[in-house]
């Protein structure tokens, strides 16, 4: 009885918002703020600034620009990267701004907005490593680290026989630690974040792949919201604001 009651209760609680919810655009306007999800261990896209006690980064500034265009404020939630998609589907967050690549799997459940930057994915090893690879499949048999739920994770998971020696880390920092102590032979990450870690660890990039474009994501169902955010980003490109942000964060 109790279990049935709890299941029904949770079920009603889960579905009620979707029954009464109107257009996301109206919800955000009425609330006066847009709730944005991110994962702050991906400098320079998003990082928690320990001096100012606030999050900052390229995605943060770009989302603020979008919020200004919508004439609302932003409220940030910092959560594990692999929870972002689920949280956006469940309605906990209105938008994902976390250097999220556009992939078919993500587009199946969430709506990507216009893409705003394209970076590289790189295979990183210790500086004294003699490892040479010509394609990602050459990593089979080596101890390789990726961040859970990223495109790098997907790409490596698709390679046959990779699974046995692939380690997934929720936090990038621990992955670089593992590389430095020799637990991992190589790691596969976004190129921009290697910048910070290369100042601490002696690492080198041995292989580069062009990554899919990066975009914000929202739930399907609100054309007005996607149109407004796309116009905000397009306007940012037109008047040079986005280029200024790219120069600011990527040097």
């Amino acid at each position: 009885m109790l279990i049935v009651g709890i299941i029904i209760g949770f079920g009603i609680g889960y579905f009620t918002p979707s029954l009464v919810a109107s257009d996301d655009y109206d919800v955000i306007k009425a609330r006066g703020s847009i709730i944005v999800g991110t994962n702050t261990n991906w400098p320079p896209f998003e990082i928690f600034n320990t001096t100012s006690n606030q999050i900052e980064g390229f995605d943060i500034d770009l989302a603020e620009l979008v919020a200004d265009y919508l004439n609302v404020t932003t409220q940030w939630i910092d959560m594990d990267f692999d929870n972002l998609i689920g949280a956006c589907q469940a309605g906990t967050i209105d938008m994902i701004a976390s250097a999220t690549f556009i992939t078919a799997a993500r587009c199946a459940v969430l709506q990507p907005l216009t893409w705003y930057i394209r970076t590289n994915e790189v295979v990183v090893t210790k500086a004294n490593s003699t490892l040479v690879i010509d394609e990602l499949a050459d990593l089979v048999g080596l101890d390789v680290g990726v961040q859970t739920g990223t495109v790098e994770d997907e790409e490596l998971s698709d390679i046959t026989n990779m699974e046995a020696t692939l380690t997934r880390y929720p936090v990038v920092e621990t992955m670089f630690q593992a590389l430095d102590t020799g637990t991992l032979d190589a790691i596969y990450v976004d190129e921009p974040i290697v910048g910070l870690y290369s100042t601490v660890y002696s690492v080198k990039i041995i292989f580069t792949v062009t990554a899919p474009p990066t975009a914000f994501y929202i739930r399907y169902g609100s054309d007005r919201l996607s149109a407004a955010i796309n116009s905000a980003i397009a306007e940012g490109f037109a008047d040079g604001t986005v280029d200024a942000l790219i120069a600011k964060w990527f040097g």
């Binding site: 702050t40 320990t50 001096t51 939630i77 689920g86 906990t92 920092e173």
Partner: protein, 231 residues
Amino acid sequence: MQEVEGLLDILYLITIRGLSTTLALTLISLAFGFVVGTALALMRVYGPFELQLIAKGYEKIFRGIPLLVLLFIFGAALLGWFMWAGSVIAALFVAAVFALALRSAAYQSELFRGSILSVDVGQMMAARSIGMTEMQATRHIILPQAFRLSLPGWTNEYAVVIKDSSLASAIGVTEMLYQAQAFTNTYPALFLGIILVISIIYFIFTYPITKYVGESMTAKLRQLGLGGGKQ
């Protein structure tokens, strides 16, 4: 990149920013868990069959779900329930308290049930025979003794909750571990130092309580002839 601060500065910043949230999470969760746990324990000991079943079911469910999963349920999937708190930051805090308190209530209920049962049944009979109602006897005779008996075990629950409150960092509550992770992201070279520093802070807030409240209470109870073990 920012200028690298000394480890002492980092310790100071983590403490002033994160410790208050960690302690608030712990104490509020323990307080709610205490109220709900006591109610559940009384339901299981004195309640009619239906209430016993509800209390039992509650304990089984919340002792069977990992805290991290509870945090994801309330903090990531159902955060909308807590938006009455005003802002997202407040809602995340309430969600974390909710998860910690529900879980703690299940464990505290077991703890209190054990100590209520260990108060001699003759005490209830004696209280009833001098004209107290069952409610009065429970409140004035049974519970004061039961709580005293459960204190050593309860300090253990405190130790569990203060350490498990660190899991709330996974949903973005800015408690001590979250602050520590932010610092390790900014200063990867100080990773080990920062992790050691917060280990020490957690230890400082756990050890004295379990030592002086827990162990001294055990000794005191033993003087009163309660509790087993070597004399």
